[in-house]
Every structure is written in C-alpha cells, then in structure tokens.
C-alpha cells in the first residue's frame, strides 16, 4: 500500500518526535545530556517543525475555495496565516534556544500563541464569510 504524501509527512514528523524523545531519554539516563539540554532540544525541534510545516502552507494545502471566500481573499488569508505561524514558530525556537530555561516555556508559548490565534481567526473569518454568503 502506498501512502499519499501529506499522511507520509505527518507520520514522519510523529516518528521524529517519538525518536527524539527516546534518544533524549537514553542520553539523559547515560548522563550525557542534562534535563535542561533535553528540554531545550525538544523545544527547538518542535519549533522547527512548526516553522517547516507553516512555511509550506501556501504551497501545499489544497485550495480552501470550498471553505471561503473569493480566490484572492483565500490566498491572502492563507499567506497571513502562514507568515504568522512561521514567525511564531521562529520565536518558539529562539525562546527555547536562547532564553533562560525558567521562562523559556512561557516565552515560547507566548510567542507562538499569537500566530495560532491569527490562523484560527483567519479560518473563522472564512467560515463566517461562507456562512453569510449562504
């Protein structure tokens, strides 16, 4: 059975997370990595996955025409959502990489959350426009 591309990509990301968790656990058990280094590495890994996934949003997603709006608006909303998530993901990555570990998690979420809110807002706006159009 041959899996289609989006599912393959999602499975690869899930496998990467699981593999990362197992590898980091082993490294910690053998005292090769501190708890802080593991937390930072996983944070950076998750942030990079967000950046890479969001980067491809305008290119890979099937047209949202059924969900929205006119094609021009749909394209704009998709671009805004992608940019918001890429910048949020970059902020998340940098927070885990550079901020003091005590506040890294809070700062990372604080930086990514606005991007997620923008995407939710974009989708809600599209759905609302569609609802209004009947």
């Amino acid at each position: 059975m041959k899996l289609n591309h989006p599912i393959r990509g999602a499975l690869a990301v899930a496998a990467l997370y699981l593999l990362g968790a197992v590898v980091f656990r082993e490294l910690r058990e053998h005292a090769l990595f501190s708890a802080e280094a593991i937390a930072r590495s996983m944070g950076v890994l998750m942030g990079l996955v967000v950046v890479v996934s969001a980067n491809a949003i305008p290119k890979r997603l099937v047209p949202l025409a059924r969900l929205s709006c006119d094609p021009g608006r749909e394209l704009t909303l998709r671009r805004v959502g992608a940019w918001a998530l890429v910048l949020g993901g970059l902020g998340y990555t940098l927070a885990y990489a550079l901020a003091p570990i005590g506040i890294a998690s809070t700062l990372a979420i604080g930086l990514l959350a606005p991007g997620v809110l923008v995407v939710v807002g974009v989708m809600a706006r599209c759905a609302w426009k569609r609802h209004q159009a009947g």
Partner: protein, 104 residues
C-alpha cells in the same frame, strides 16, 4: 532551488508574482500589463511554472495562473526585490503598461 533563484532574478517575473498576490489572473490580463511579446511572456510563465512558484489552471479558453509560493520563497522574493538579486545575465528593463500610461 536554482530554478527558484532563476525565476526570482528577473524583474518581470517578480512583477508577475506581485500581481498574482492579489489573486488568480488570466494569462491575457497578465500579458497585457507588460510591454513584451506574448511568446516572451509565455517563456516567463514557463520559468515560473518550472520553479513551482505559480500553478496554471485552464478555465474555459483562458489559462488562469495562481500564486503558489511558500513563506521562504516569498521572503526570497522580497529580498530579491530589495537588493536586486541577479543570478542570470541582466535582462533589459521591462516597463509596465499601466505605469507608462500614467506618465503620458
């Protein structure tokens, strides 16, 4: 990646991408905005299609082009726009009809 740089190196192609940001456009409407021949414009479209920066869809008798750029590619285009990226021999500047009309 080379095909993307090649596509973004030309100001006409960058202008086409800028115009497509507003939404899908027909090949004719896009070609009319530039003072270049239709075969030249077709060649520009071919380069953009090869770089996977746009996609074409046949709608009746016209071909509609829509933007298909990732965030990184858009950032690269902005960079090329700002700093005049040139990876191919410089092409003669193309004027846009709308601008020349405004001037006259």
């Amino acid at each position: 990646m080379t095909s993307i740089f090649k596509a973004l190196a030309d100001p006409t192609r960058r202008q086409v991408l800028q115009m497509l940001r507003a939404g899908p456009m027909g090949a004719g409407a896009l070609a009319e905005a530039f003072e270049v021949s239709k075969p030249t414009m077709s060649a520009h479209f071919a380069v953009l299609l090869a770089a996977d920066l746009i996609e074409a869809e046949k709608s009746g008798r016209t071909i509609m082009y829509r933007l298909k750029m990732s965030v990184l590619e858009e950032a690269l285009m902005g960079f090329a726009q700002a700093f005049g990226l040139q990876v191919t021999p410089e092409a003669p500047p193309t004027t846009i009809r709308k601008q020349s009309k405004e001037k006259s």
